[in-house]
């Protein structure tokens, strides 16, 4: 049996299908979760996908954070359940205070969709163990509010504790502090990432297949944990 990875659909989620496909291509069993669900259907890990949950009105992720399912996800994450937030999912994780800081309007004020080069800075998290530390990958990035901000002390702490998971290379696409593309919590089970690895899992439709590692990482972790 393989691991069950839940993918939450909020009203306005857009990349939920892509995230489920990525889980499937990595060999896992994707489980569709609904924002109003009050239990997690025995999933072993959760992906909060990209999109515009609740229209991203007010602030990105601000309304989704109060969805019924988030109660269980927040509790699960605190107990070590692996959670990956991609783009809007990252914003939801910050709004939920599972990750520090916040994501703000891109410094150039435009939505941007591009193939983005990243460096995996920490290959020790639940979602990056299939990469080498320092490995460079290219995956799509698409957001309007992807600028990562936190106060200096928090930024220093993230750096010192190795919690910067991925960094933008060559071009900072949104004004993120210290070129941060993704971070983790202290335990390494919760990862938030602005770029979209789930769009880089097939040579036909992605710029590369270098996003697959996030999904194979978690499946290996879950299967060995059994």
């Amino acid at each position: 049996m393989t691991a069950r990875v839940g993918v939450v659909t909020f009203p306005g989620s857009l990349d939920d299908g892509d995230a489920r496909r990525a889980v499937r291509l990595a060999g896992g069993e994707p489980v569709a979760l609904w924002h109003r669900d009050t239990d997690l259907h025995q999933v072993d890990a959760v992906v909060l996908p990209g999109g515009f949950s609740y229209g991203d009105y007010l602030r990105c992720g601000a309304i989704a954070r109060f969805s019924p399912i988030m109660e269980n996800i927040i509790a699960g994450a605190r107990e070590g359940m692996p959670v990956l937030g991609i783009c809007n999912g990252f914003q939801i994780l910050c709004e939920s205070h599972l990750l520090p800081g916040a994501l703000t309007r891109n410094d150039h004020l435009h939505f941007v969709c591009r193939d983005q080069k990243l460096r995996i800075e920490n290959a020790g998290t639940a979602w990056t163990s299939d990469y080498e530390a320092g490995q460079e990958i290219t995956v799509p990035l698409k957001n309007g509010e992807g600028g990562y901000v936190a106060d200096e002390r928090t930024l220093d702490e993230l750096e010192a504790e190795g919690r910067v998971v991925a960094r933008y290379l060559e071009l900072n696409p949104n004004g993120s502090r210290r070129d941060i593309a993704g971070i983790s919590n202290a335990a390494g089970n919760v990862v938030g990432l602005m770029p979209h690895p789930e769009h880089a899992v097939e040579p036909l439709t992605g710029p590369t297949t270098e996003g697959l590692g996030f999904f194979t990482s978690i499946l290996k972790r879950l299967v060995t944990a059994r």
């Binding site: 609740y54 229209g55 009105y57 007010l58 309304i63 109060f66």
Partner: protein
């Protein structure tokens, strides 16, 4: 040195999806008794001179032509004490 605030709100007849989203969310979070929410923008402008009539006239013009989209938005200008 003075601070002038320009508030820009969607005209009443224009759909405000943001305000509506907030309004729908509030009761779910346990905040009852709010019958309408409108969301707009607030600009805080710092002047290097006094906020006299001439300065305010200029800011009103900037609001009219630039800060607000008067096809769909109204604005107000005021000096903040």
């Amino acid at each position: 040195m003075a601070r002038v605030v320009v508030d820009v709100m969607l005209k009443p007849e224009i759909l405000d999806p943001q305000g509506q989203a907030v309004q729908r969310a509030l009761p779910r979070l346990g905040f009852e008794g709010i019958t309408d929410v409108r969301q707009g923008k607030r600009f805080e402008l710092e002047l290097d001179g006094p906020a006299d009539e001439a300065a305010l006239a200029r800011i009103r013009e900037a609001a009219e032509t630039f800060l607000a989209n008067t096809v769909i938005e109204d604005f107000t200008v005021r000096v903040e004490s």
